[in-house]
Symmetry: C2
Subunit: 256 residues, 2 copies
């Protein structure tokens, strides 16, 4: 199978001119097929503020009422996505911006109301990767915004990490997929404040050990758990690292 | 060659809930391959107003400074486009939202500054329809926003009529294309205020006659001229009609 790298970057990196261009340069230099999944939360909050719409977050997730859904549709699907696409085209990559509604790539279900009503937020139900894989094989580079649809005409705000993970799994039937989660640290760290304490590799047994020792904790537990599940579902490797280490050998934490 | 209908609708129709749904119902019922090109000017003006950005128009064209480009990217490429895509998916059509930057479908050149500096406005240079034709043959329904790119990383605001015409010409190498321009009248009228005076067909000789008689005048001259040029470039027919007459036989003015 041919190799494919799927990179997920947060909003902060793609929203600032300098870090965006550095990221896209590194992304363009990666060999093989590639896919980019992006966030855009800061720009969404900024636009909401300018429009007098309050941004409410619960555990890092945005409460998405009808007006907020319009804001994220404009920012994720329009402003951030199309700016990346145009800038990748300028680097000779045949980028194609997508939400989950486009070509029915990602269907989701509106999250049921329990303690919290998240509003128009979707949990991924199904990734249809066949047409996507076809396009990738023809040299197209999908750029995916964190929006999905429910098949009933509604767009839904969807976590970008989840989109990256589920898309990587679906593409693993067509390519040898490496999934890269960029975040603010150089990798999964042994000591929270020591950037030189990156754990080079994690597998299922060492993960259980690290959790029981309290070395991996908090928000890092679901991140690594999701990575392990992606690997168990056929993704070749998941790398957790900093955006400026994309493409550098030996950087970050590799989950296998 | 297989048949393809390319419909261009203005902003007004796609921006109001009721007319949007009626349009998409009719569009979904059309037989054969299809493409939708949409506007979105009213929503762009509304958003600009809410953001305190002045909308300046010269001869119906929006002066597009950097802030206005962000507004139209959000509204055309995000809000309007993705809402149409999700609603077509709900009707069983495999819609794919596109700007000209996506898959490099439409390259344009920033309009040179003459009497008027239109800012980030693009004049179409080239339509790359091969990948698009491939996708259409596989059942994908492109939904095109009035934005293009210059290949240097810049999005450009571009007239939706032009996008429709140029895309129709490029697709005419792959399909038997009928281009439908929806506007507020039932067709090209003999008497401006008589909706029953639709001229059923126009060709090059009758156009010259109608212009010399003063029956076709003003903004209708370039509309019909562009339609004739599309036909001369291989488009089978151009129909000028009202959105609620889409798909009805014998409605509107057919330019051949």
């Amino acid at each position: 199978m041919e190799k494919l790298t799927l990179i997920k970057v947060g909003g902060k990196i793609v929203e600032e001119e300098a870090t965006l261009h550095a990221l896209l340069d590194r992304f363009a230099d990666l060999p093989g097929h590639k896919v980019l999944v992006h966030g855009g939360g800061r720009s969404a909050t900024q636009l909401a503020t300018r429009l007098g719409i309050e941004s409410r977050m619960v555990e890092g997730r945005r409460i998405t009422d009808a007006e907020t859904l319009n804001v994220v549709t404009m920012v994720y699907g329009g402003l951030v996505n199309k700016r990346i696409v145009a800038n990748l085209q300028a680097r000779g990559l045949n980028a194609l911006g997508l939400t989950g509604a486009d070509m029915d790539v990602i269907r989701s279900m509106k999250r049921p109301v329990k303690e919290v009503d998240y509003g128009f937020v979707g949990d991924v139900k199904q990734v249809n990767a066949d047409l996507l894989a076809d396009l990738i094989a023809k040299g197209v580079v999908p750029v995916m915004a964190p929006l999905t649809h429910d098949g009933q005409g509604h767009l839904l705000n969807t976590n970008a990490d989840t989109i990256a993970g589920e898309t990587a799994k679906a593409l693993a039937r067509h390519f040898e997929v490496t999934l890269v989660y960029c975040f603010e640290k150089r990798g999964v760290l042994r000591s929270e404040n020591d950037d030189n304490s990156v754990i080079p590799t994690i597998d299922r047994p060492s993960f259980q050990q690290l959790v029981s020792e309290g070395i991996i904790q908090g928000g890092m537990i679901p991140k690594v758990e999701n990575s392990l599940q992606a690997v168990e579902a056929g993704v070749k490797a998941v790398i957790i690292t900093k955006a400026d280490a994309i493409g550098l050998a030996g950087e970050g934490t590799t989950v296998r």
